[in-house]
């Protein structure tokens, strides 16, 4: 089930080593730098919560028992999410470009394994948000006609790889038609 994907000299078992992707056979992990995009995004998400908790603690809860608990908990949980979360998300995010379909696998808590046949692709985007530019990744976005799941996103690709994937999928659309 697992395969080592990054050069690592640690003796940790594959299931515990954060530098190894845990993916079904045949799937490629996305760029390791995607972890930093996730980390920055998590930081940006937790920062307002932390500030809110600090303000609450210092203004509203003056003299209350257990003052500082809220900030402490938010800080701890946020820190844990920022430190632990990204590589766990990265380890479980993989894709496989097949002959006729793209497969995207993600998540452990909410594991989702999506297959989009190329015949069904309507159009394709390669998108780069500011965080993507910062860490050097890009997202491939696939639009299908389905009402459910009409936009399938594969984040964390190296920009040349994203463009290569797009071109290969586009070539498939072409051959199916002519």
């Amino acid at each position: 089930m697992t395969e080592a994907t990054l050069p690592t000299d640690s003796d940790l078992p594959a299931t515990l080593d954060p530098r190894r992707a845990v993916l079904p056979p045949g799937l490629e992990p996305v760029e390791p730098s995607y972890r930093w995009a996730l980390r920055l995004r998590l930081m940006l998400g937790w920062l307002p919560l932390l500030i809110g908790a600090l303000v609450l603690d210092s203004v509203a809860l003056e003299g209350a028992p257990l003052r500082g608990l809220a900030s402490g908990v938010v800080a701890l949980v946020g820190l844990a999410a920022v430190v632990i979360g990204p590589q766990r998300i990265w380890r479980r995010l993989g894709y496989a470009l097949g002959e006729r379909e793209l497969r995207i696998v993600r998540g452990w808590l909410f594991h989702v394994d999506t297959i989009v046949p190329f015949v069904r692709v309507q159009h394709l985007d390669v998108a780069r948000a500011p965080l993507d530019k910062l860490v050097g990744t890009a997202s491939l976005i696939i639009h299908t006609a389905g009402t459910h799941n009409s936009v399938v996103t594969l984040p964390g690709l190296a920009p040349p790889r994203a463009i290569e994937l797009r071109d290969r999928i586009r070539a498939q659309i072409k051959t199916d038609w002519q």
Binding site: E99, R100, E101, W108, L109, F110, H111, V112, D113, T114, I115, V116, P117, V119, R120, V121, Q122, H123, L124, D125, V126, A127, R128, A129, P130, K133, H143, T144, A145, G146, T147, H148, N149, S150, V151, V152, I163, R166, R170, I173, K174, D176, W177, Q178
Partner: protein
């Protein structure tokens, strides 16, 4: 109207722009065609948008000016106008496109950079729009629709704006490409524009299904509904105080009866009769609601087969005449409730790509018997529905347990909390008839067990009525024991397949499949729940076989 059409044919990128033949003409050229930009005059064409967006600011400005604060007024209007103009200018500077041999590339955004690639094969519709200002300066806004369902919020491809000549060249190029593609109509989302015209030219053949007045009456009886009572209740609750109406207060009726006088004694003496009258009134109201809701809509329902699809006519006051090309049918749903099923009736709906009619679901037989539904399905050229002998598969038995465990936890939490609160207060326990803490805990546990037993029963019933099979390149999914439904999904209409295994389902070793299908009302995806994991993977492979 469009100025000199040949004046600005080529790219307008800058000094080195080649003013020769339009880019798409050299389809055989090896070098990729150059990137092009929007026309600088888009800024002028966008003035309409500027006014539209700035009208609130304008109103505010006038208000401020009337109060003598002219400076503020000018500032407000200026900021609003410049903001919109600025956004157009930013788009103008950041947007570029390239018309390739068989696709168009759109690149947009500065901070959020997005490069979109739209193959010509997938373009359903090319809309060329010109507002009055754009017409004056010969510009046009081009909208490419691909049939992707992201919806109105995200337009598939918009060029705002380019010269009309360029827009027409692009449209002709896409049209020529589509005409040259032999497989046109292959993709499920295709031919949205073409099919309507085709279907209109069809000669119709025969009526497949029609609602006789008798059938219509049956349908109206089956549509019995007490929704009106609920609605009246709601009205009485909301506006009752203001209107002086409170039908749930005995005094209200007593006061009214007193006004009538001698009748009061009669009514009060024969309460049973009054209650009987009440029930009859309720029944009549329910029947009338069903009648009003169905008869005007389904009056004269006829479904005829045309060359390319179905044509449905119905309606008493609002006559509708809808053409449903079979090429655009994505799925069919046979549904029936307990009463209809008892009389062997069901309803047939098809899910189709239909942006024209709002929801993508079309009822093509509101109330039909089994043989009639079979006839309609045969008329669609679809294989007959599989019978009991077909290789039906059931979901895993873990379906039952996997649904009960979360329910047990959700029910347990409030039960424990309520019990704890009640036991924590002596006076509350006394109010409950002097029951001791043990008795009360037992009572709570009993209630919890009872609820769980009921839920288990429902879940088992649910499981027993779920099954699916693949036959004749179609997926059939049956579900529901109270309201039953059968979904018929042609395999080549599946846009994408999700296999979902959240952690609690993984513990049970099961997985869900969800299908992306175009059209439909979009409330819930077609899905198969609680398959054994290995079966789910195998089924997904089987489903995707036709497109591999």
């Amino acid at each position: 109207m469009s100025g000199e059409p040949g004046a600005i044919p080529g790219p307008i990128t800058g000094a080195d722009a080649n003013p020769g033949a339009p880019a798409p003409a050299h389809a055989d050229a090896a070098a990729p065609p150059p990137r092009e930009r929007l026309h600088p005059l888009s800024l002028v064409a966008g003035l309409g948008t500027v006014f539209k967006q700035a009208w609130a600011a304008l109103a505010g400005g006038i208000f401020l000016a009337a109060q003598g604060q002219t400076g503020f007024a000018l500032l407000l209007v200026g900021v609003a106008t410049l903001g919109t103009l600025g956004s157009i200018a930013v788009r103008l500077l950041s947007f570029s496109y390239r018309i390739d041999v068989d696709e168009i590339d759109l690149a947009s955004g500065i901070i959020n950079r997005n490069e979109r690639s739209i193959p010509f094969d997938r373009v359903q519709d090319v809309n060329i729009e010109q507002n009055p200002i754009a017409r004056l300066i010969g510009l046009a806004r081009v909208k490419l629709e691909t049939g992707a369902s992201a919806g109105a919020k995200d337009e598939d491809g918009v060029l705002d704006s380019i010269t009309l000549a360029r827009a027409e060249a692009l449209r002709d190029r896409i049209r020529a490409h589509r005409a040259g593609a032999p497989g046109a109509g292959l993709a499920p989302a295709s031919s949205a524009a073409a099919s309507t015209a085709e279907a209109n030219a069809d000669a119709e053949t025969e009526a497949i299904f029609a609602m006789t007045p008798r059938r219509l009456l049956q349908l109206s009886v089956f549509s019995f509904s007490l929704a009106i009572v609920g609605a009246l209740f709601g009205v009485a609750q909301t506006y009752g105080d203001a209107l002086g109406l409170d039908p749930f207060d005995p005094d209200f009726w007593r006061a009214n009866l007193e006004r009538v006088g001698p009748l009061q004694n009669l009514v009060l003496a024969n309460r049973a009769v009054t209650a009987g009258f009440g029930i009859v009134t309720l029944l009549l109201a329910g029947l009338l609601t069903g009648f009003v809701r169905t008869v005007p809509r389904e009056w004269g329902f006829t479904l005829t087969r045309t060359e390319t699809g179905f044509r449905r006519r119905r309606g008493l006051l609002t006559l509708t005449d809808v053409v449903l090309p079979l090429k655009r049918v994505q799925a069919a749903i046979v549904a029936s409730g307990p009463v209809r099923r008892h009389f062997d009736f069901a309803k047939l709906t098809i899910q189709s790509l239909a942006r024209d009619s709002g929801s993508g679901d079309h009822s093509i037989a509101p109330l039909a018997t089994g043989p009639e539904i079979e006839r309609i399905i045969a008329a669609m050229g679809w294989p007959a529905l599989p019978d009991e002998g077909a290789p039906w598969q059931r979901p895993s038995r873990a379906f039952i347990a996997s649904g009960l465990v979360p329910a047990a936890i959700f029910l347990l939490l409030p039960a424990v909390v309520v019990t704890a609160i009640i036991l924590g207060r002596d006076d509350w326990a006394a109010a409950l008839g002097g029951a001791g803490p043990t008795q009360f805990s037992l009572l709570a546990a009993g209630l919890w067990l009872g609820a769980m037993a009921l839920l288990s029963l429902l879940r088992i019933l649910d499981w027993r009525h779920r099954r699916h099979c693949i036959a004749d390149a179609r997926l059939y999914v049956r579900r529901g024991w109270w309201r039953r439904g059968l979904v018929i999904l042609p395999l080549d209409r599946i846009q994408s397949v999700d296999l979902r295994r959240p952690f609690w389902k993984r513990w049970f070793g099961i997985a869900d499949l969800r299908f992306g299908v175009a059209g439909g009302s979009g409330f819930a995806a077609h899905r198969i729940e609680a398959l054994r994991s290995d079966e789910a993977y195998a089924l997904r492979n089987a489903l995707l076989e036709p497109v591999r």
